[in-house]
């Protein structure tokens, strides 16, 4: 009879020694290394932004204005105009791009996917993701700003153009994951295609669609280049997104960070931290909202 306490059991149930066991170890180590490689720079960025930006953050900095000239020290004025600018410009861009992008994905997946138009839209979306953001800004500058002047809305158009392909592609992938048998179940009850899409397909994919839209919004909120010549930059709050020059956190980071003045640099770090915080809050809020929609999926 084998005695467990003796230390050498009769059967060895461990992974056999040799190459197979080593392979397992190598792969595990490689994965941990990859994770570290991905996390460490991210951690550094966050740590630096918080370390250099946190000291300037105050209610006055977040809401006050106007944005002071670069030469003034930290503690004067505030980034309020840029916070408001970012919220309204990115918000309007999301309002334009997310519904359009989701509808585009619905078209590709549920309606014309196999047709020429469906494939063309998918292909164009892929091409559009590769367009540099400054080119998108110049595009809007040419077709809009030259005719109607700078405005927050012009910036929103440029950001929406950048977000659109990302929203289309991510929503498309999510809709593809909805099992065909759910659609069939709905069709078998006499639902029309529109009904199936609205009551079954979109609710089943909503979590992923929201994630994709958020990534696009977060990305757009940080875009600088297309805003530079679409909204110009001002120091006072412009609550009217539809007309007049405006400002945003990203352009303020750009305008302040390349200055030699300590106050301007502090304001740039503060603006960077504010932008990260806004994105973070937005992500959490969206997760809470979608948790309600997806509460039956688990």
């Amino acid at each position: 009879m084998a005695t467990v306490s003796a230390g050498s059991p009769v059967v060895d149930l461990r992974e056999p020694a040799g190459w197979r066991r080593n392979k397992n170890r190598i792969a595990t180590v490689a994965m941990w290394l990859a994770l570290l490689l991905a996390i460490v720079p991210l951690g550094f960025v966050l740590e630096t932004v918080i370390a250099k930006g946190a000291s300037i953050i105050s209610w006055q900095f977040l809401t006050g204005g106007p944005i002071p000239p670069n030469v003034l020290p930290a503690g004067t004025g505030g980034m309020g105009p840029a916070v408001i600018g970012t919220l309204e410009i990115t918000g309007l861009a999301a309002l334009l791009a997310v519904p359009l992008g989701v509808l585009g994905a619905v078209y590709i997946n549920e309606y014309g996917g196999r047709g020429i138009l469906g494939r063309l839209i998918g292909f164009m979306a892929d091409v559009m993701t590769g367009v540099p953001s400054i080119v998108m800004g110049l595009f809007i500058y040419t077709i809009w700003v030259l005719h109607f002047g700078v405005s927050g809305m012009a910036g929103s158009f440029a950001l929406a153009c950048l977000m659109l392909p990302v929203v289309i592609r991510s929503s498309d992938e999510m809709l593809k994951l909805v099992p065909q048998n759910l659609r069939e179940a709905s069709y078998a009850l006499g639902a029309t295609k529109a009904r199936v899409t609205v009551t079954v397909v979109l609710p089943a994919a909503i979590g992923g669609i929201v994630s994709g839209a958020l990534l696009a919004i977060a990305r757009a909120a940080g875009e600088t280049a297309p805003l530079l010549f679409c909204i110009l930059t001002v120091t006072a709050t412009n609550a009217n997104v539809f007309s007049g020059a405006n400002t945003a956190l990203s352009t303020q980071i750009f305008a302040n960070a390349n200055q030699v003045f300590a106050g301007a640099q502090a304001r740039a770090w503060g603006a960077a931290l504010t932008l990260i915080a806004i994105t973070f809050i937005l992500m959490i809020a969206a997760r809470i909202v979608t948790a309600r929609f997806t509460r039956y999926s688990r």
Partner: protein, 286 residues
């Protein structure tokens, strides 16, 4: 179950045909004349002609790839969802051509519901699953919806198990419960016909037994067509059985499904006319 077994034994003892032509107990509700179904250029099913009768349970049996499910899906135009699928021949439902111009597949499916092989509840609450059909058909009155949900769940023999958790996710149900929920969901729109595509293939014998019992319960109100791989199930539940098989072209090796024999269930299993049916039901083939 016991009763039908006795019936089988009785018939085995008296090996003569119940009747040569199927007696019409119910009115004929589907008439298929020379129906072929293509997927692209592939002819999946060739030349099926049969009639399905009201308030009966009709079973489709046969080996894999013989086209039973394909034929079933022509009956409520589910094949329309497969872009390459094409139906030839005539299928009439209560005298109206199912594939005539102007016929709405949606209107067809409201009358002819379907239960699928794999239970496919929506990721919604149990209540919302059952109320889904009535809601998309315009029912908004809460009291009426309540009544429909309870009645449908009772018909599907699920009410007692779920009545205290109607607001919980349907994805938390066991396989057998989920399938009965899908049946309840189908019954909630008060269809005329219920098509079942191997509804018990993913279920254990107890859950299967429950579903067979409920089929017997509801057949007075609905006409049922069931595809099954389980021949015992066909003998237990069905009034008529259609045996399908695969035809293979020797030269080209092209296979197509076809209807071999259609008769009262007792005849198919005890006294088949066709040697292929004989071979299949006795387990020598397929």
């Amino acid at each position: 179950m016991e009763e039908s077994e006795q019936q089988v034994i009785q018939h085995l003892a008296v090996p003569e045909r119940v009747s040569d032509t199927p007696q019409t107990t119910g009115e004929s509700i589907f008439d298929m004349r020379d129906v072929s179904v293509y997927y692209g250029s592939f002819r999946a099913v060739t030349g099926v002609s049969l009639s399905i009768h009201e308030n009966e349970i009709t079973a489709f049996i046969g080996p894999s790839g013989c086209g039973k499910t394909t034929v079933l899906r022509t009956l409520n135009r589910m094949n329309d969802l497969i872009p390459s699928a094409r139906v030839e021949g005539d299928i009439s439902y209560r005298g109206a051509g199912l594939y005539d111009n102007g016929v709405s597949a949606t209107a067809v499916r409201r009358r002819i519901g379907m239960v699928f092989q794999k239970p496919n509840p929506f990721p919604k609450s149990i209540y919302d699953n059952v109320a889904y059909g009535p809601r998309i058909n315009g029912e908004r009155n809460k009291a009426v919806l309540h009544e429909i949900v309870e009645r449908s769940l009772r018909q599907a023999a699920l009410w007692d198990e779920v009545k205290d958790r109607l607001s919980k996710s349907a994805l938390g149900l066991s396989g057998g419960q989920a399938q009965r929920l899908c049946i309840a969901r189908t019954l909630a729109v008060e269809p005329d016909v219920v098509l079942m595509d191997e509804p018990c293939s993913a279920l254990d014998p107890i859950a299967t037994g429950k579903i067979e019992d409920l089929m017997q319960e509801i057949k007075s109100q609905f006409t049922i067509v069931i595809v099954t791989h389980n021949m015992q199930q066909a003998t237990r539940v069905s009034d008529r059985t259609a045996f399908y098989s695969v035809l293979r072209d020797e030269k080209t090796d092209v296979r197509t499904g076809t209807l071999v024999e259609y008769d009262q269930t007792a005849n198919i299993f005890e006294n088949p006319r066709d040697s292929r049916t004989q071979a299949y039901v006795t387990g020598r083939m397929g």
